[in-house]
């Protein structure tokens, strides 16, 4: 029950207060605590507060891998992880008609150049799971037969040279949170004679960038293609960096007209296979969501990445 403050797309009050609804119908989700979103203290101070146990902050959301890794040993709080429905993936810049990345063989070759486990551990302290495309194994729509692209630098090198990309410096645009990931990608690329330059997504990206890293999440009730895949490749995609893809659109339309299971999930699997067959993206891994959590709180994170707090309790 919201009793104070607002949180809008473009503005937030200094704090938002929610009181428990004592008459809520669902005993499993009946809130027991007042929740305060503190929009003043900031993430860095919030993390310090949890570690120090000074009582100002109990949970901090959306830590970067570096922030989680740097969290000090503390008797007052800890880092909590969640294998949420997320992806970190590279979008190829196919905007120019003569972009080399319009060639699926070039996209596939760059995928072969990446040692994903190395990138995950070197670039993100291991906070994540390597996945074949956009859906984690075991989730709705995952194809159990699909495996991540192998790391095959020799095949990658020859295919990239054949595509006219050999010896180049590739430009990666990414949030500063993923600078370590780009550095690890750069180490992979160096082994096949390619350079790698990080450009912060906070700056105006150069027109000639090669790959843009995007983090995204699935909040849907088992309908990931509309939320995630469509956002990257659909007609109305906001993250697409190239022309429309009629083959993807046809699969999406088929999904929209397949209301019953198990047929619907089979279409989702077909979409996943299409993404990998066409090497539609530079597939990386599913990042964990990372939280700093005070020991006084039993915090229940959500796979949707939403800060839903109905089940969060104070211990004891």
């Amino acid at each position: 029950m919201l009793t104070e403050g607002v949180s809008l797309i473009d503005s937030r009050s200094d704090r938002v207060v929610m009181e428990p609804n004592k008459t809520y119908w669902n005993p499993d989700r009946k809130p027991t605590v007042r929740i305060i979103y503190d929009n003043v203290i900031g993430k860095t101070e919030g993390i310090k507060s949890v570690a120090a146990g000074d009582g100002r902050v109990d949970v901090v959301f959306d830590l970067t891998p570096d922030e989680a890794h740097a969290f000090p040993a503390s008797e007052h709080g800890k880092i909590q992880t969640k294998k949420a429905k997320t992806i970190l993936t590279g979008v190829f810049n196919e905007n120019r008609p003569d972009s080399p990345w319009r060639n699926p063989e070039a996209r596939r070759a760059l995928n072969l150049a990446i040692d994903r486990e190395f990138v995950l551990h070197q670039g993100a302290h291991g906070y994540g799971t390597v996945i074949p495309a956009f859906i984690q194994p075991g989730r709705y729509g995952a194809d159990p037969e699909m495996k991540p692209f192998p790391h095959d630098p020799e095949a990658a090198k020859s295919a990239l040279e054949a595509a006219g990309i050999g010896g180049r410096e590739l430009v990666f645009v990414a949030s500063p949170a993923w600078e370590g990931v780009v550095a690890a990608i750069g180490q992979c690329l160096a082994k096949i004679g390619l350079g790698c330059r990080f450009v912060s997504a906070k700056e105006e990206p150069p027109e000639e960038f090669d790959v843009k890293l995007e983090w995204y999440f699935d909040w849907t009730p088992q309908y990931p293609v509309a939320c995630v895949h469509r956002e990257f490749f659909g007609k109305d995609a906001t993250l697409r960096q190239g022309p429309e893809d009629p083959d993807f659109d046809a699969l999406y339309d088929k999904l929209l007209h397949t209301p019953h299971e198990p047929q619907q999930e089979e279409v989702v699997r077909a979409v996943e296979r299409y993404l990998q067959d066409q090497a539609k993206a530079l597939f990386l891994y599913a990042p964990y969501t990372l939280f700093a959590v005070s020991d006084r709180v039993a915090f229940t994170p959500y796979d949707t990445c939403m800060s839903e707090l109905a089940e969060t309790r104070i211990k004891g």
């Binding site: 797309i9 938002v16 929740i35 429905k85 849907t220 939320c227 939403m306």
Partner: protein, 166 residues
């Protein structure tokens, strides 16, 4: 140090500092988390990422175009009862706008989708041509009380519009 010095609200609320959890959420979609913490929909997604019934306790496709939902018996925190009519009201309100959802038009119901109250607990939605995304869209169709619609609603007071503001 005074516990929750920055987070303990004034005003004699029934829950004291010992029952307050203070969080910092820098996510750009914090507005959506607040909405889903304070509103309810026909269905939801649990902490394991699985769809679950919520204010609708069940649903079934009667044919490829007709979805029937059975509403739960529940009351809002102000005592107003929830029923099938409240679901229909939420649907009618969202359909007043062309693009009400911030994430995008993929959450819109088509203009020819209809919603019929069958009885106090049952509604039938008809999707001409079919729409397998219906349950995903219902996750974003909030079902607040009459008081919410009368006193607040989703209309941005600055623009007078609820487009992109749901």
């Amino acid at each position: 140090m005074d516990a929750h010095a920055t987070g303990d609200p004034v005003g004699g609320q029934p829950f004291g500092p010992h029952n307050t959890v203070t969080v910092v959420d820098p996510s750009p979609v914090n507005w959506l988390s607040i909405t889903w913490n304070t509103m309810e929909e026909a269905n939801r997604v649990d902490h394991d990422g699985i769809g679950q019934p919520s204010l609708a306790e069940s649903w079934r496709w009667l044919d490829s175009e007709t979805l029937e939902l059975t509403m739960r018996q529940a009351v809002y925190q102000d005592g107003e009862p929830f029923n099938a009519g409240m679901f229909k009201l939420g649907f009618d309100k969202v359909q007043e706008w062309t693009n009400p959802h911030p994430p995008g038009a993929f959450l819109n119901f088509a203009r020819d989708v209809t919603c019929e109250v069958v009885d106090d607990r049952t509604v039938r939605m008809r999707f001409p041509g079919g729409d397998s995304a219906a349950l995903m869209k219902l996750r974003g169709m909030h079902l607040p009380s009459i008081r919410f619609w009368d006193e607040w609603g989703f209309v941005d007071p600055k623009t007078g519009s609820a487009e992109g503001h749901w």
